[in-house]
């Protein structure tokens, strides 16, 4: 027996088993021709009406790639034809739901169905008073952490559906849940870059509760409010320059030009100094390039996780070199928290872009919206 032939045997066995595993075919989803799709800004999902049920199609993702998932939403007694063509069949309206991101909570509350929430991972993140009161009453069970959702407690809860937000992470426990017949939906609102696109996902929840009309009307109000605010500053000639982010260790993270956060600055008629950076995530820069470009920025929005000017200086004296620091034009959302430390901005801002825009307008153009009280941002003291 020589090493070479043994190696060939192992390699062949290995590669063939890999090929077999990769070809683990899931049934191909039914093809949809989008009709009656009234989604204007969100790119991550579409809702289609069939005869006796509706279909949600979501472009879900893992950290590196995308997948198309379709769900059939039908009433209890409706028979859905070709159920294997869908990732899951969901019986509406939902009575018990488990969600996994704080951004899902405001949608539930706006639709008046927050009492259907029975479980959530990391309860402490939730800031909304209404839901916190449900938590104190013991109506919402702690599920552990998002990376490692407690399978047993989730099975015990037996919700009608679980709403995850990514195909990674909690994947394993959710797969076990799916096997027992509990449908898992992926809500991909976090991938939207248009401020109204994120908010439009309330329609996703609306469909799950048979409250489509209500969801539409809530969204329309937000949309109108947003566009009206945008008009107010559209024609202002002087654009203040804006800096964002802060250093973690020695890398400065800022939102990229096409990202959700940067859009607000643009729609509020500010000049985000890194507007030209392509992409929707964050850029990592060193202090020198940030100093060079942003030292004289008029405003500094969202300086990372810092909650006070003193804290900024403790970490790095260089922050005091920025004009916005000297002139006291730094604005943060990190100080508005719920009773257990959850940051309000992370929870509510995606659902209420109109409030974020108004905050931004109030900061960048103080003469407009004089009476307005900022909802999320406050000056960094």
């Amino acid at each position: 027996m020589n090493f070479g032939s043994v190696f060939k045997c192992i390699a062949t066995a290995f590669i063939s088993s890999m090929v077999l595993i990769c070809c683990d075919q899931t049934t191909t989803p039914a093809k949809l021709t989008p009709e009656n799709s009234e989604i204007k800004y969100a790119t991550g999902f579409t809702i289609t009406q069939r005869e006796n049920h509706s279909v949600i199609s979501i472009t879900a993702s893992s950290s590196s790639s995308k997948k198309e998932l379709t769900y059939a939403l039908a009433g209890k007694d409706i028979v859905v034809e070709n159920p294997e063509g869908y990732h899951a069949v969901i019986r509406t309206p939902l009575e018990k739901i488990v969600v996994t991101s704080t951004t899902h909570i405001p949608s539930l509350e706006a639709l008046g169905v927050e009492n259907s929430l029975v479980g959530f991972p990391n309860l402490n993140y939730i800031s909304s008073k209404k839901t916190r009161s449900n938590i104190s009453k013991g109506n919402i069970k702690e599920l552990g952490s998002n990376q490692d959702i407690n399978t047993e407690v989730l099975l015990e809860l037996s919700p009608d559906a679980v709403v995850g937000f990514t195909l990674d992470g909690s994947n394993k426990s959710l797969k076990t849940i799916e096997k027992t017949g509990i449908p898992v939906l992926i809500n991909a609102d976090w991938r939207e870059t248009h401020p109204l696109g994120k908010a439009e996902w309330i329609k996703f929840f609306g469909a799950l509760y048979n409250k489509t009309k209500q969801a539409d009307s809530i969204f329309n109000t937000i949309e109108t409010s947003y566009n009206e605010a945008k008009k107010l500053v559209q024609n202002i000639k002087s654009k203040p320059t804006v800096l964002s982010g802060a250093m973690y260790k020695d890398i400065w993270y800022l939102p990229k030009g096409d990202s959700w956060a940067a859009r607000f600055i643009e729609d509020a008629n500010g000049e985000y100094l890194w507007r030209d950076s392509k992409g929707t995530g964050s850029i990592a820069l060193n202090i020198e390039s940030v100093l060079e470009k942003g030292q004289n920025a008029d405003f500094w929005i969202a300086p990372g996780q810092f909650t006070s000017r003193a804290q900024l200086l403790e970490f790095n004296k260089v922050y005091s070199a920025f004009n916005a620091y000297k002139k006291n034009k730094m604005y943060t959302f990190t100080n508005k928290k719920g009773a257990t430390g959850g940051v309000l901005y992370y929870e509510l801002a995606p659902n209420r872009p109109d409030l974020v825009l108004k905050d931004m307008i109030h900061i960048l153009h103080p003469s407009v919206l004089k009476e307005y009280q900022p909802y999320f941002f406050e000056i960094l003291k």
């Binding site: 190696f7 290995f14 890999m18 595993i21 683990d24 893992s62 702690e142 047993e152 099975l155």
Partner: protein
């Protein structure tokens, strides 16, 4: 070697203990389920459907995974300790877990870089398993290639260590450029996780275990000979290279396969052979292999039961528990006996 009936009785005793510990493991968890329910679930008349789900879809597969992982890692640890005649050897001395870590790190942390090329591959639910197995396999090949010229087994151990440092450094670089979410995901993988295996996964895992076990049993005679060293073993007719290869293959399939599915679980492979030797008074591998396998399964089940923090919603990572529970036990045993029986 002459076998003693005392040792046979011991193996039977261990088997009985395994059954008991498995039952305890299945009856304890975050949700309090009365012991009665377990029997109901087997007979298929559960009183509460969610309890039935929990037992059949979560606890039962988890117990099986624990048994396979515990036995497999313990056996591969024993193989490595005898092959290298070193009490500090474990199943990962040849770089299996560092290779797995590197493979998974590239998948999770380097995602942005590779996404373009392998996007459909990456989305596969098996991607973690494949990345881990592939990583183990490649690093193992690298270690073996580097040791082809080396005669001294101690040098092989050092080469394995060096590859471990190398892969660790690469993972560190990847970590530096990753965001918090990716890092958290990677760290959670490195904690090890026995639960939520699919039945398909468990069947592949069982296959790896059976192959590894069979290879180990067939190598037991040569392992006994190797107790005296390679020169004596050769003088007794052993084909050293061929047998070393079989032993290394058995270890790779066991440890590499297990790590691919449950992540890197430390300590079991290293400590269980020592623990077993304390009460099994023979060096005959025909007795040691089953004894070590049973002990490994029992220890893993015990650690898993503790890790589940029964009654609470939180679970501790299995990796932490195996070391926290196991290390003091080994220390206590050695201090009590005042010498290492190896």
């Amino acid at each position: 070697m002459i076998r003693h009936t005392k040792n046979n009785r011991l193996v039977i005793l261990l088997s009985g203990l395994l059954v008991v510990v498995a039952c305890v493991n299945i009856s304890l968890g975050s949700v309090a389920i009365p012991v009665q329910e377990i029997f109901n679930s087997i007979v298929d008349t559960p009183s509460k459907s969610s309890w039935h789900y929990i037992i059949t879809n979560y606890r039962f597969p988890k117990a099986i995974t624990a048994i396979i992982a515990g036995s497999g890692l313990a056996i591969s640890g024993l193989l490595m300790q005898t092959l290298f005649r070193n009490p500090l050897a474990g199943p990962f001395v040849l770089g299996l877990s560092s290779g797995a870590s590197l493979g998974v790190a590239i998948l999770i942390l380097g995602a942005g870089v590779i996404s373009g090329i392998f996007s459909t591959f990456l989305l596969n639910p098996w991607s973690l398993v494949i990345a881990s197995a592939l990583g183990s396999f490649l690093v193992l090949l690298a270690v073996l290639a580097a040791t082809l010229k080396v005669k001294d087994t101690m040098a092989i151990l050092i080469i394995g260590l060096m590859f471990g440092s190398l892969t660790g450094a690469l993972v560190a670089v990847l970590s530096y450029f990753s965001n918090a979410e990716q890092l958290q995901q990677y760290i959670f993988w490195s904690f090890g996780s026995l639960g939520n295996q699919t039945w398909q996964g468990i069947s592949i895992l069982s296959l790896c275990f059976v192959i590894g076990l069979v290879l180990s049993i067939f190598s037991a005679k040569s392992l006994n000979a190797l107790l005296l060293g390679e020169s004596y073993a050769k003088s007794m007719g052993l084909k050293i290279k061929k047998n070393m290869l079989v032993i290394i293959i058995a270890t790779s399939i066991l440890a590499g396969g297990i790590t691919a599915f449950v992540g890197p679980i430390a300590f079991i492979g290293l400590a269980v052979p020592h623990l077993t030797r304390q009460f099994v008074k023979t060096s005959n591998h025909f007795v040691l292999i089953p004894a070590v396998a049973l002990s490994g399964a029992i220890l893993m089940l015990v650690c898993d039961t503790i890790a589940q923090l029964p009654g609470t919603v939180y679970t501790l990572p299995i990796n932490a528990i195996t070391s926290v529970v196991g290390a003091p036990v080994v220390i206590w045993l050695l201090v009590r006996k005042r010498k290492l029986i190896f």
